[in-house]
């Protein structure tokens, strides 16, 4: 364990926590159950957080959930838009995560290649 490395964490965590507050246009929900974590959800999440911060996207809220019943295609995330539209992305890795931030969260364009299932509309 490297104490210096841990010290760097302080600043970074606090900055990211500050970014997460308030009502946002996009909500990104990470599946962080045992299967998600085993498949690499943590790396997907930290990559996305980094990327969101780097691009200065302020209209994004991050949440986690437990198992979503998609164990075979983990890591899975769901992006919920303020209008009620939901998109589920599966089989993610760091590259996919970066792409989703750049396309979906920044430009509002869905990444069809990584999306699974039919889009669902709620109210």
């Amino acid at each position: 364990m490297n104490l210096d490395e841990l010290k760097k964490l302080k600043e970074k965590a606090q900055r990211q926590v500050a970014l997460r507050e308030g009502n946002k246009k996009y909500r990104v929900v990470f599946s962080m159950g045992t299967s998600g974590i085993a498949a690499g959800a943590r790396e997907v999440m930290t990559t996305m957080l980094d990327e969101i911060e780097k691009r200065g996207l302020e209209d994004v809220e991050v949440r986690v959930t437990g198992e979503v019943g998609l164990e075979d295609v983990e890591p899975v995330i769901r992006i919920e838009e303020a209008g009620g539209e939901k998109t589920t992305y599966a089989h993610l890795d760091a590259g996919g995560a970066r792409k989703i931030v750049a396309e979906h969260l920044e430009k509002g364009k869905k990444v069809d290649k990584l999306a699974v299932g039919k889009e669902k509309k709620t109210d």
Partner: protein
């Protein structure tokens, strides 16, 4: 099986979040001299009753009902890892007060997974729910380290301090 102990920590701490914890304390104690690595995760979530606690210790326990504290394979995996590495696994819980999980393993054990990216685990936890205080205590032969996600935040809600005290009571009660 997780390749890193920090992934175990994340997995267990996710249970704490699911149990409505407002405060999660993670302690990692590493001593080369005594050849131990001890991980403790303590929360002030809703805890479990005796019956649930017994079932949780059974290897195949899984709770799909989202009304109860959802525990899947995670605890069993951590127990397996610690027992495989010459250590012990202990879980204590008081309903309404919180849960405390302690896993130890021999630092030098050949099968011991590396601690891995603890920072990523803490970051992921902090970002999951900004209202929850995540505390990390690290102690090794090099020195100690303490981190809290609420540290230096301008508008610290009073509720956090209250729940913190409740958490402390819970741990003594167990």
């Amino acid at each position: 099986m997780f390749e890193e102990l920090s992934l175990h920590i994340l997995d267990i701490a996710m249970n704490s979040l699911a149990a409505g914890a407002r405060n999660i304390q993670i302690a990692v104690i590493e001593s080369v001299k005594h050849d131990w690595l001890i991980i403790r995760i303590r929360d002030n979530g809703r805890g479990m009753d005796g019956q649930t606690l017994k079932r949780v210790l059974a290897r195949s326990f899984t709770s799909k009902s989202s009304r109860k504290k959802p525990i899947g394979l995670g605890l069993a995996l951590l127990r397996q890892s610690s027992e495989m590495c010459g250590g012990t696994f202990d879980i204590r819980s008081v309903q309404g007060r919180g849960t405390s999980i302690t896993a130890s393993m021999r630092l030098s054990h050949v099968d011991r997974p590396p601690l891995g990216d603890l920072n990523a685990t803490i970051l992921a936890l902090c970002a999951s729910n900004e209202a929850v205080e995540v505390q990390l205590h690290c102690r090794s032969d090099e020195g100690t380290f303490y981190f809290s996600s609420q540290e230096g935040r301008p508008h610290e809600p009073r509720r956090t301090q209250k729940t913190q005290r409740e958490g402390a009571t819970a741990s003594r009660a167990t």
